[in-house]
């Protein structure tokens, strides 16, 4: 079978092997230089494996033990053992524990306390950590995390929504902070966050839907901003937002599926940002999650709001709460 033939379909077995092998590359400097991302890598890999019907490829016991070892006394999680707590990694940790149905392994009250401490009382925004960087990504992290823990009561939700709405732009999109350019990654975060707290009525769904489907280029791939290069991870950021807004069908599915499949590494497994580049676990998850949203056969359905397998979101009773 030649390369192009192989890339007509999703190389499930190769991707499973690729993800499994990530933790054994400890001879590479690269592995150590990305140490601060280790916990994210586990979330990306584990979620991808579950969507591929292969969650057992990583041992639950090891995964849970590792996640627990990243928690700090203040309740937050660092990107790896010994790394400072951060809201982003705290969400990844909670997502992993929810997938593994292992929240009882950690002190949930402490996590809630940590997340709540990241909210700025005046603006309603969230900082990523005690150092004060503000970003709508962190609003999503906080709302998603507390929603998964069923503890949204711990923060000021109306204020959080108020801040997100300040970041809404003239083109219907959202940026990192008030006035910042619309960006597909931030749009996923803002639309996802608004969905979690039942505030989608605040989105101009037609205007934003147009902006999102306008991201599709002739080769089927999606970019994250006008005049930028297409990238597999945007097949997730753009698609999930469209899906939450009930407008997934506005893009051309066949062309996008083709684009994602061609970005697969047909020898080593994994998916790259675009055809011809090196595969990584981040784009592997978002490629697979995108395909799942597009209804690609034999993948478990993914939840567009939480970026978790749908059966997980259903198990904890949070599925289908959002409506435009």
């Amino acid at each position: 079978m030649d390369t192009s033939e192989k890339q007509n379909r999703l190389l499930v077995d190769l991707h499973v092997k690729y993800i499994q092998s990530l933790d054994t590359k400890k001879d590479d400097l690269e592995y150590w230089l990305t140490e601060h991302l280790r916990l994210s890598g586990v979330y990306w890999g584990l979620t991808a494996l579950d969507l591929l019907n292969s969650i057992d490829a990583l041992k639950k016991e090891d995964v849970v033990k590792y996640v627990v070892s990243c928690q700090h006394d203040n309740g937050g999680f660092g990107g790896h053992i010994g790394h400072d707590p951060h809201l982003t990694y705290t969400l990844y940790a909670v997502q992993i524990l929810v997938i593994e149905d292992a929240l009882d392994a950690v002190n949930v009250d402490k996590i809630v306390e940590y997340v709540a401490s990241c909210q700025d009382r005046d603006t309603g925004a969230f900082t990523g950590d005690e150092w004060g960087e503000i970003d709508t990504r962190f609003s999503y992290c906080a709302l998603s995390c507390l929603s998964l823990l069923k503890r949204l009561d711990a923060i000021n939700v109306p204020k959080a929504v108020e801040f997100i709405m300040l970041c809404k732009n003239f083109d219907g999109g959202f940026g990192v902070s008030p006035g910042a350019e619309s960006h597909a990654g931030q749009i996923f975060c803002c639309v996802g966050a608004l969905a979690i707290v039942n505030s989608l009525h605040l989105v101009d769904a037609d205007l934003l839907g147009w902006w999102l489907c306008e991201r599709q280029l002739k080769n089927g791939g999606l970019n994250g901003r006008p005049e930028k290069l297409e990238d597999v991870c945007y097949s997730w950021w753009v698609l999930s937002a469209l899906s939450i807004l009930g407008r997934l069908h506005w893009i051309n599915k066949e062309k996008l599926i083709e684009f994602v499949l061609v970005a697969q590494d047909s020898e080593g497994g994994g998916i790259a940002d675009r055809p011809g580049d090196m595969a990584d676990v981040f784009h592997t998850l978002f490629g697979i999650a995108g395909l799942s949203l597009l209804g690609y056969p034999d993948l478990k359905p993914v939840d567009p709001v939480y970026c978790l397998p749908k059966h997980v979101v259903q198990r904890i009773g949070l599925a289908e709460r959002y409506h435009v």
Binding site: D23, T24, K26, D27, D28, L29, Y31, W32, L33, E35, H36, L37, D62, K65, Y66, S69, G78, G79, I81, G82, H83, D84, H86, D129, W131, G132, E133, N169, F170, D171, G175, V176, S177, P178, G179, A180, E181, S182, H183, G209, W210, W211, C213, E214, Q216, K218, R225, P226, E227, K228, H249, W250, I251, N252, K255
Partner: protein, 299 residues
């Protein structure tokens, strides 16, 4: 980058605890490993010293995204009352080689916030935008600087220059909107009329460029003007035999707004061009144009 032995003779490096089940043997870069061993040892006792500062410098040069090291470095800098202008030079070099790193930009913001002096910032950001005029971090930081230090005065000139260079730079169009509407001094009615003229000229230069189309519609909505003022532009582009889905799409907006006021001919015409877009000029977004057609039909 081997560390000088005598400076570190009192410290016993702490080896990495790589999780509950470390897969030995570990053979990664010896120098980075050595530096991290010392870092774990001194951060555990919260040592804030010259040698600790030097050590963080070496580690971030290896790995600028290591956010824990940056936090530690900030604490040392402030505790030792270091000259933060020197640190600005250091972080400048770092950003030049890693312009898309969150930690570096945030570190710079923390320093400038502490110094409350932004005199070097716009020239520095200009330099970065000169290499990549769409760097999201640089633009976000620029907006923070402009807002915090009230540097609105020359921003429109700056945006003009960028758009002269590349009319397709969406970041510059966004900055234009920011400059007009986030400025505490709001634009006058007269200014907005001129602004629309300016954008129309830019659209004529590249009718398939979505950024000014989004921008002009944003301004029209914001200032409660009638979208019909763009009809002439759309027709002119059509006459030149340029196929611009954006121009045709804008006509759909115009006809729809008139159909809403009861015009049957505009409704007909809107439906006709939606079909044209769905079948021919923007077929990849067929479903979107069909949706617009359904809306028009229901009016």
């Amino acid at each position: 980058m081997a560390l000088e032995a005598e400076v570190w003779s009192d410290i016993k490096p702490i080896p990495l605890d790589d999780g509950p089940d470390p897969l030995a043997p570990i053979a990664y870069d010896a120098e980075y490993s050595e530096a991290m061993g010392y870092f774990r040892a001194i951060s555990q006792r919260d040592e804030r010293s010259e040698r600790a500062l030097k050590l963080t410098e070496r580690i971030v040069e290896y790995n600028p995204a290591h956010y824990t090291i940056w936090h530690y470095r900030q604490q040392i800098l402030f505790s030792l009352n270091k000259n933060l202008n020197e640190e600005l030079d250091f972080v400048k070099e770092q950003i030049e080689s890693n312009p898309k790193n969150y930690q570096l930009w945030h570190h710079r913001q923390v320093l400038v916030e502490k110094l409350m002096d932004a005199s070097c910032e716009l020239p520095f950001i200009n330099e970065i935008l000169n290499d990549d005029a769409k760097n999201y971090h640089a633009w976000t930081y620029r907006q923070w600087i402009i807002r915090t230090f009230n540097l609105w005065e020359n921003e429109l000139d700056f945006v003009n220059k960028l758009l002269d260079k590349d009319v397709r730079n969406n970041s510059a169009w966004n900055q234009r909107y920011f400059t007009l509407f986030f400025n505490p001094t709001k634009p006058t009615e007269e200014f907005l009329t001129q602004e629309i003229e300016y954008v129309i000229e830019k659209i004529k230069m590249a009718p398939n460029n979505i950024s000014p189309w989004n921008y002009i519609k944003g301004i029209i909505a914001k200032s409660n003007k009638d979208i019909g003022i763009l009809e002439e532009l759309c027709k002119e582009i059509e006459k030149q035999d340029i196929i611009s889905p954006h121009a045709i799409g804008c006509l759909v907006d115009i006809y729809e707004s008139r159909a809403r006021k009861g015009s049957a001919t505009d409704k007909e015409e809107g439906i006709r061009i939606c079909t044209l877009l769905a079948e021919k000029h923007d077929a990849i977004r067929k479903k979107y144009w069909e949706y617009r057609k359904v809306i028009l039909t229901s009016l």
